[in-house]
Structure formats: C-alpha cells, structure tokens
C-alpha cells in the first residue's frame, strides 16, 4: 500500500516493516518499548508536509477528538 505522498512511500514501507516485526515479536509478547520511533519520525514529517500542501491538516486536527463520539460510552475516545 502506498502513502498519500509518493515521496513518502519508501519511508512508509520502511516504517511498516519495522512496525510489523516489532508488533508481532515484541509488543504482543509484552515488550512495549517503541522501537520504530526514529523511522516513524521521518515518515511522519514527510506525510505532515503532504497533508499541509493538500490543505488537510485542519480537517484532521478537528476530527481527531471526535472519532467514535457517536458511540459515547468508553474511555478510549479521549
């Protein structure tokens, strides 16, 4: 799967590979050290720029706190 920005796709793939290895081998076995932080920061910065260029940043920031709000009930919605 590609990134929203073509220039970010290689970083996304690098992050996804790191994430999958970490998730299956470490996180699911109780180790919650965030091992993919370095590559994630690079990937995140790349996507951030694309979102700004596309004018999506505000839409995302506004929507984030409200995800799932129609279901009310739970603590995860913070």
């Amino acid at each position: 799967m590609d990134s929203i920005g073509d220039e970010c796709t290689p970083l996304k793939h690098e992050y996804d590979a790191c994430f999958n290895k970490w998730y299956s081998e470490k996180f699911l076995n109780g180790d919650s050290t965030n091992e993919c932080l370095a590559v994630f920061k690079k990937y995140q910065a790349c996507v951030k720029k694309v979102l700004q260029d596309k004018g999506l940043t505000k839409m995302i920031t506004d929507a984030r706190p409200a995800i799932g709000s129609t279901f009310g009930d739970d603590q995860e919605a913070k």
């Binding site: 299956s24 076995n29 799932g68």
Partner: protein, 185 residues
C-alpha cells in the same frame, strides 16, 4: 437522527494473528477502493502500555447516481484510531469520514477480543452509526442507501481480513505469537 447497526462474528485465528492482520488489511483484493493508508500517529501510553495508532485512509467514492450532484470530488478521507491492549488481548478500532461530512457522518467501531472460551478464536463486534443531515428530503434516502450497503461492506471487509489472515499465516509473519499461543495452551 443517528442510525446504529451492529454485527458480531468470530475468526478462527488467535487474537494476536487477527490484530496483526487488521493492521495490515490494506491492500487486499476486496478493498480496491482504498488508495492509500498512512499512519499519522504512533505512541505508547506510558501508564497503560496500550498502543495508540492513528491512520489516514484515502478512498475512491462510489456513490449512487442521485447523490453525484451533491457530492463534490471523487475521493474521501477516513480517519482511523486503533487502540491495542496486548495484556488484555483487546483491540478497538474506530473510523470516521472527514470529507463529505455535510452529507453524512459514518462511524465504525470494531472490537476484537480473544474468545475467553477458546484462545485460538477471536470475537469481533462491528458497530456502525450513520448520521445524515443534508435535508431536502434526502436523509432517509441516504440512510437507507447506507443501510443496504452496511452488510455488503462488512461482508467485504471480512473477506479482506480472511485473505490477509491467510497470507500472514502462510508467510509466517506472526510466528512469534503463534508459538507463544501454543505454549500457553
């Protein structure tokens, strides 16, 4: 007015496998409308140890002919928030559309839990809410259209999940957890 729908089913795979597949469910042949997927936030709650992921999905919009005039643009953006509690074997994923919100707001919440009676199985609960407030007498048309699409979409996303589950299983991507599951049994 908000309409709610709910469906429950089970996967014949362990929770670790299913949660892994959920994170990797795009691309798959049953979700060709999903064009891109990006993780825009990844953090671990220092207190609870829970993993919090936020993703942005870009999809093509297939709308009925009568809706074409009121929907601008062929693409839709969906925001997805996933919280994973590895200790509690529980994943909660919520999505909401962030474009075309004047037409309707669709939210989905999927809860994936290890089956307490059999940890080689995973229980899934899918909740959907649809809110339409465009007016012009179109609300019920929109909501009914969404309702008819609701079960179609769940069936499709389930097929997609099974495809990814099988792939992940065969590739041995989730070996570590599968071995751990076997040792526990």
């Amino acid at each position: 007015m908000v309409k709610f729908y709910q469906q429950k089913y089970a996967y014949d795979y362990s929770w670790g496998t299913v949660s892994f597949a959920f994170m990797n469910r795009y691309p798959n042949p049953f979700a060709t409308h999903v064009l891109t997927a990006d993780t825009i936030d990844h953090r671990i709650d220092a207190k609870t140890g829970e993993l919090h992921i936020v993703r942005l999905l870009r999809k093509t919009n297939s709308v009925p002919r009568w809706a074409k005039g009121i929907m601008r643009g062929n693409e839709a953006y969906i925001l997805e928030e996933i919280v994973v509690d590895a200790q509690g074997n529980r994943m909660v994923a919520k999505t909401r559309n962030i474009t075309h919100t004047r037409l309707m707001k669709v939210e989905e919440k999927q809860t994936l839990c290890a089956d307490p009676a059999d940890n080689s199985r995973t229980l899934c609960k899918n909740e959907t809410s649809i809110l339409s407030n465009i007016g012009y007498g179109l609300n019920s048309k929109i909501e009914n259209f969404s309702l008819s699409r609701f079960s179609d979409n769940i069936a499709k996303s389930r097929k997609g999940m099974l495809y990814v589950l099988d792939l992940a299983h065969r590739k041995g991507l989730i070996r570590a957890r599968v071995i751990a599951d076997k040792q526990e049994q």
